[in-house]
C-alpha cells in the first residue's frame, strides 16, 4: 500500500451511523456542536465532553468555520487524541444565522484531530477535502436521505 493510501482517512470509518445526527431543525449552532461532541465522546472515553465542547466553541470564536455552501466544520486539536474523530449532523431546515456575518448551516461536520504537530498537515488536508466534497449538490443529496444509516452509507461510499 502506498504512503498516500496509508494516509487516507475513510469517512465510513470516521462516521459510523451512531455519529450521524439527523434533525428537522436545531435551536442553534452551540447546541448542535454540543450534541455532536456527545456523539463522539460516547465512543472515546478518554475525552471529556465538556472540555471538548469548550475547545471547539473557543475555536468558533475565532475565524468562522462555516462555508457558504451550508457546511460548517467546527473543529479542535486535542492532546487526548491519537487519531482523527468526527460526527456529522444533517439538518432538513438550516440553522438560521443569529449574527449578520454568519451563514445558514445545512450540514455540520464536527472534526477532532490529534494535537501532535505531525498530524497538522493531514488535519488541513482533511479540512480542505471536506469543503471540496460537501458541495451544495452533495449536501442536497444528504438532506434528501431517509436516516442516519443511509447518510453513513453514503459518506462511506
Amino acid at each position: 500500500m502506498s504512503q498516500k493510501e496509508q494516509n487516507k482517512v475513510s469517512l465510513g470509518r470516521l462516521i459510523a451511523p451512531s455519529r450521524v445526527l439527523m434533525a428537522d431543525e436545531y435551536p442553534g449552532k452551540k447546541e448542535l456542536i454540543e450534541a455532536l461532541v456527545q456523539a463522539v465522546c460516547r465512543d472515546c472515553p478518554q475525552l471529556d465532553p465538556a472540555y471538548v465542547a469548550s475547545q471547539v466553541l473557543k475555536r468558533e470564536e475565532g475565524i468562522s468555520t462555516t462555508l457558504d455552501t451550508g457546511l460548517a466544520i467546527p473543529h479542535a486539536r486535542l492532546e487526548e487524541l491519537t487519531d482523527f474523530a468526527a460526527a456529522v449532523a444533517v439538518l432538513r431546515r438550516p440553522i438560521v444565522p443569529t449574527a449578520e456575518n454568519e451563514l445558514p448551516i445545512r450540514v455540520m461536520f464536527l472534526f477532532l484531530s490529534p494535537a501532535k504537530p505531525t498530524f497538522f498537515q493531514q488535519h488541513l488536508q482533511i479540512l480542505s477535502a471536506l469543503a471540496e466534497k460537501f458541495k451544495p449538490e452533495f449536501i442536497e443529496e444528504l438532506v434528501s436521505l431517509k436516516d442516519a444509516q443511509e447518510i453513513a452509507a453514503r459518506l462511506a461510499r
Binding site: 475513510s10 462555508l67 455552501t69 488536508q125 477535502a129 471536506l130
Partner: protein, 680 residues
Amino acid sequence: MKNASETSAGSSRVKKVVVLTTAMLTFIPFWKAAAVVLCDFGSSAFYAGGIAMRAFGPAFPWYILAVMLFSGLLLMLELEACSLFVRGGAYKIVREGLGDTAAKLAASALIFDFILTGPISAVTAGHYLCGLINSFFELAGFGLELPESVVSVAFGMLVTLYFWRQNVKGIEESSSKSAKIIAFSLAVCFLLAIWSFITIALHGAHLPPTELHFSREALGWAGHIDWMQTIGLVGMIMAFGHSVLALSGIETLSQVYREIEYPKAINLKKAAWLIFGFALLFTGGLTFLSAVIIPPDLIATKYYDNLLSGLAMSLAGPNFLKLLMQAMIVVCGVAMLSGAVNTSLIGSNALMNRIAEDGILTDWFRKIHRRYGTTYHIIHLIAAVQLVVILLSRGNVYLLGEAYAFGVMWCFVFEVSAIIRLRWKKAAQKRDFMFPLNIKYENYYIPVGLILLCGALLTVALVNLTTKQVATVAGLGFTAFLFAVFSLSERLNAKRANTMFEEGYRERINAETVDDLKEAFADLDRPHRILVAVKDPENLYHLGEVLSNVNADDTDVIVLYCKPVENVLYRQDMRSAAVDEQEVFTAVIFMAEKYGLPVTPVLVHSNDAYYAIAQAASVADAEEVVMGVSGRYGANPQIERAVMIWGAVKDRELKHPVTLRILWEGREVSYRFTRGNSPI
C-alpha cells in the same frame, strides 16, 4: 472551462474588482535612471564653461573639471542619502536629521535653484539655436543676424510654456526618451572629441592657463575685502564657487532613485558611476577641449553663451561639415536643455508637494486638477515665476548663472549636515552605502569624510555669499520670502497640518474597475505568479519576504487587498481609491520601490477575504499564495479557514501544486495543495 470565480461556491463573494495603477510601479534599469539625471545634470555643459570664463577668465576649464570631480563626492552623498530610504529627497532627509526649520530653509533655497534651472536652460537653448541660425546665415552669405537675446527669450518662454502645459496634464517624464537623448549626446560628444583631437594634432594647442582674472562683477563684495585677494587659496575657492553651477541637476538622482529596479543599491551605484563618468567626459572634457581649441578672445566675445557651438565652428575642416557638427550639438543641446526645463518644473512641483503633504502649505496649493489630477496651482506658480525670470534676464545667461548655485550649495550643506546627524540618530539603520572615511566607535561610524565634505561645501557656500552678489541678494531674498510663506501657511494650516501629519504620505493611485478577476490579470505575462494578500499597512513582513526572494524575471507578484463590504448595491467607477486602500497600497508601493520590483496591485470588494483570495489565486493561476499573520486570530485558524475555502471554490484538477504560506517574523505555516491527493 469554468474558473473558480464562476463556481457556485463563493461566487457572490467578490463584488467588485479594481486594478490599481501608479507610475511608481514601473522600474527602470540603472542606465535609464542615469540618463534621466544626465539630461539635467549633463545640460550644464552647454553653459557652465561660458559663464565661468566670463567670471574669472581662461582658467575656467580647470575649475569645471574640478567641479565635475567634486560631483563624484556629491553623488556618494546622494548614495548614502538614498540608502536611508527616506522618501522625498533632500527636504525629507534634512527634516529627519535637522528638524522642520532647517528642512523649510533647505527646501526654500532648493526651490530657488529649481526655478532658475528652467530659465537658464531654456535661454541657453535659445542661444544655441540662434547661434546655429546665424552661422547658417553667415555661411550662406545672407548678411542677416538674428538678435540672440530676443530669440533666446522667445525660445525660452516657448519651451517653458510647453512644459508648463505638459506638467499640468501630468505627462510623466519618459526615461526611454532621456536614454535616447543621452545616447545621441554621447555619439556627438565622441565625434566632437575625435575631431577636436585631430584639430589639436593639426594646429597644435596649449593647456589653458591657471591664472585667475576675476571680472569686477565676479569679485562681488570680495572686491572690497583686501585680504581675500591676497590669499591664493581664497581665489581658487572663489573660482570654484563660480563654477559650481555645473552641478545643476545632480540632485535629480534622489528623485529618480524610487524608480530604479532591483537590485536597487547595486543599480544605484552603477547609475552614479555612469553619471560621474559621463559628466566628467561630457561637461568636463568638452569644456576643456573648448578652452584649448577656441581662441580665448572668441570665447569672450562670441561664444560665451554657446561654448560648444564655438568648439564646433573652431574645428579644422570645411565649413559645411563644421556647420553640420554645430547643428548636431544644437539638437543635442536643445533636447538636453529642454529636458532640464521640464525637470526643473517636475522637481520644484514634487518638492512643493512634499512640503504640502506635511501640512505646511494651505489647501490652495494642493488643489488637484479636476481632469488631470495634478497639483496645477503649484505648477502655474512655478511656471509664472520662471517666465518672469526669463523676461527679466533679457536673455543674459551670465546673469542667470550668477544668480544660480546659492540654493544648490546651501541645500547640500543642510543635506550633508543632516546625514551626519543621522549617523547618530539612526545608527542602527542598515545602510547599503556609507560615504567613505569612517571611524568605527562602539555602535557608531564617525563620518570623517562627511565632516570634511561639509566643511568644503560650507566654505564654498560662504565664499559665494561674498562673491556672487546676485545669487546672495536674490537667493537670500527668495529663500526668506518662501520660508516666510511656509511658516505663515503652516501656522494658518496648523490644525489641518496635524491631521495630515498623522495620515502620512499617500501615493497617488489610479483605480480602474474591471468586469472580473480574469480581466484584472489579463496583462500578466510571466510564467509564474505569486499572490500576496495584504490587509494592514503596518504588517507587510510577508510581502517583504516575497520581494526579497522572488525572481522577478519569471514571476508576477500580485498584491491583493480585499476590502470588506457588506453589500454593494451600485457599481460605479472609482476615479481615485478611497483613503484606507490608499494607505495600504502606499505602504505596498513603498515596499515595491524599496526592492525595485514591480507588483500588480488589485483591490477587490468582498464580504469574505478568504473566498476572494482563493478565487483570485485560482483565476490568476498562482503557484503560491502568501498571507501575513493575523494578530487577532493567529496563523493556524487562518490557514484552516484558507484551506477550507480553497476546497470549497475548487472544482477542477489543479494544473500545478499551489502552496499557501502564512509568514511572520522568521516563522511560517504552510500547506501545499497537490493534484488528486484527497485524503478522504
